[in-house]
């Protein structure tokens, strides 16, 4: 699904990713943990294709294609989805219109016809119920004035609508209350399938009780410094990152 090798990337001439490797097979859930500023969101940005981040070395293959050569929207259409740590507010652009444009773009890419407005509204309504987001949010500007938790639910709603192959969730659990966390986790679990993979970036072991990962990685100073199974998350929770310092060469 995703194969990253020796990935190096910098922003504003500052190197952030320093030779990162990661292999994600279909159906797998990978959790990435690591200290603030380690480069977790940067990894998401680089994979999503954010312009400001310059890849200086290494490679990333997505579904057998060279991910790094694709435009941002091409990556999305090909099935890569990034749930933002800080979703962007876009006043004036209705959430409904945004979601439809997005779904249509992906469907067109897949050779499917665009949804009619009525079909789309039905779908949007059902999906918003699943993430417990009131339908009123469909009419508002994209994320405009949404609370932190509402923004995160909106991200999950987009993920459900787009049915991507690879979902990267960047701290989707941060700032969520217990019920919202459950809702988000349920949403992710309902979407787990042998064909779909997840990369879940989190600071809290708690999320991994709900979304049980196949692998846990520690990202520190721009690379993966340790990998293990879900017990690694428990260990990190207990010991912090200090004991890994030796491995951060």
């Amino acid at each position: 699904m995703l194969s990253i090798n020796n990935l190096c990337a910098s922003v504003e001439d500052k190197q952030i990713l320093k030779g990162l490797g990661l292999d994600v097979k279909p159906g797998e859930v990978h959790a990435i943990m690591g200290p603030n500023g380690a480069g977790k969101s940067t990894l998401g940005s680089v994979l999503a294709g954010r312009e400001a981040f310059e890849v200086t070395e290494g490679s990333a293959q997505f579904d057998g294609e060279n991910l790094l050569e694709m435009d941002v929207e091409e990556r999305a259409r090909a099935g890569l989805f990034l749930a933002f740590q800080y979703p962007v507010e876009i006043p004036g652009v209705s959430n409904m219109e945004f979601l439809k444009a997005s779904v249509d773009a992906v469907r067109t890419h897949q050779g499917k016809p665009e949804l009619s407005s009525v079909e789309f509204m039905k779908l949007a309504r059902e999906t918003s119920k699943k993430v417990k987001l009131d339908q009123g949010f469909l009419k508002r500007g994209v994320n405009e004035g949404f609370s932190g938790g509402e923004k995160k639910r909106n991200e999950i709603m987009q993920m459900m609508l787009l049915e991507p192959k690879l979902c990267i969730l960047d701290e989707t659990d941060s700032g969520l209350d217990i019920d919202a966390l459950q809702t988000v986790a349920d949403g992710v679990n309902a979407m787990r399938s042998p064909e779909r993979s997840f990369i879940v970036v989190t600071h809290y072991q708690r999320l991994l009780d709900y979304i049980v990962p196949d692998y846990v990685h520690v990202l520190a100073d721009g690379k993966i410094v340790k990998s293990g199974d879900k017990s690694l998350a428990k260990e990190l929770e207990a010991k912090g990152y200090g004991w890994l310092e030796g491995e951060v060469a």
């Binding site: 435009d71 999305a76 962007v88 876009i90 439809k100 509204m121």
Partner: protein, 436 residues
Amino acid sequence: MGDLQTAALALAGSQQAPDWLASVRQRGAQRFAATPWPNRRTEQWKYTPLSALSGKSVQLPEPSGYKVPEADLIDVDAYRLVFINGVYSPDQSDSLPPEVASFSGVNDDQVALLQNHLGRLADSSAHLFAALGEATSAEGLVVHVKAGQSLDKPVYVVNYSVGEQSFLASTRVLVVLEAGAEAEVVEQFLSATDDQANLVTAHTEIVLGDNARVKHYRLNLEHEGITHAGGVFVELGRDAHFDGFAIAKGAELIRNDYLLIHRGSGAHVELNGVYMPRGRQVVDYHTNVQHRVPHCTSNEVFRGIIGDRAKAVFNGRIHIFADAQKTLAELSNKNLLTSNRAEIDTKPELEIYADDVKCAHGATVAQLDDEAIYYLQTRGIDKERAQVMMSFGFINELISNIQNEAVMNYLLPVLAKQFGRENDLLQLEADTLDAL
């Protein structure tokens, strides 16, 4: 004197007018003749070239049997008055309540009102086109609502330009709301095709008594050939409210002046506007808010998107007089240039003579938020589409705040079309989302 000036005066002289209007017209003609044609050094017209216009040839309009297509009209339950090239068309107008009359149907009281007020706020010695309007105005309407009463439906004024020739179409609107009275007035300017090349002058004067409230819409939606010069001139009594909305798109040249004078404490002005010139069109808004007394507020928000080689001028003047303590005045003007040959001249003009006031004035050239475009792209939407969505959003923020739903629902697809977007979803949203 330019060709247009000479021609306009000749036309004015040849025109019939009711007695009560004759002296107003004479005054206008004298002032129009005495006003030198603006050039680049004329402060009021510094950024808006009128040289091309001075050579324009115009004719007086004649009654036409043209029927305005229903699809061009706002679907609003209102008292509708239709003017074709400035000529009142009773056939296409509703029967009017006693508070509203076209110039051809005024009674003695309304004549007295017109004599008192016409040209008082729209000062023809200060505004070139107000003088032209006065000199040539034959038609218009008056709205007069007595103390404590309110008009049960909006007054909807349709100004339609159509025909082969270039007509000089002048209309006037006078709204007088006595103490505590309320009314809503929608003024819409349309034209049939791009070839139609009228010179439209339209001046609206609104006199608000104490605690009176008016909602006013000025919708400039004409086609390319039109030159439009006019304005809205408002005087507010104690605790009076003016709630205005303006839109300008499509015409070759649109100049609108807003003059808002606070005469009684506690008065409030709310004015939102959007403009979207493209091609080689020019839009020019001059707004002038005069805080003459204490404790008044004003809030103006104008946004523009200027494309191609078009040009917009926004001159926002706020004048706070020495007596006007505790004034709260805000003005924001944001502009988006979508081509590197597009031009915006936005100029704040603050004159503040009182010390205990709050005044915020911001004029900016905005850029589409890169982060937002990236966000849209990560959802599969291509960059161009994302830019269009965001531009639309920039304007839509103000459109979606329009209180009159019929007006809002009319404008949304007009805008969607301007931005080349399908609007069935918008429509669906407007029609059915509430019902779901």
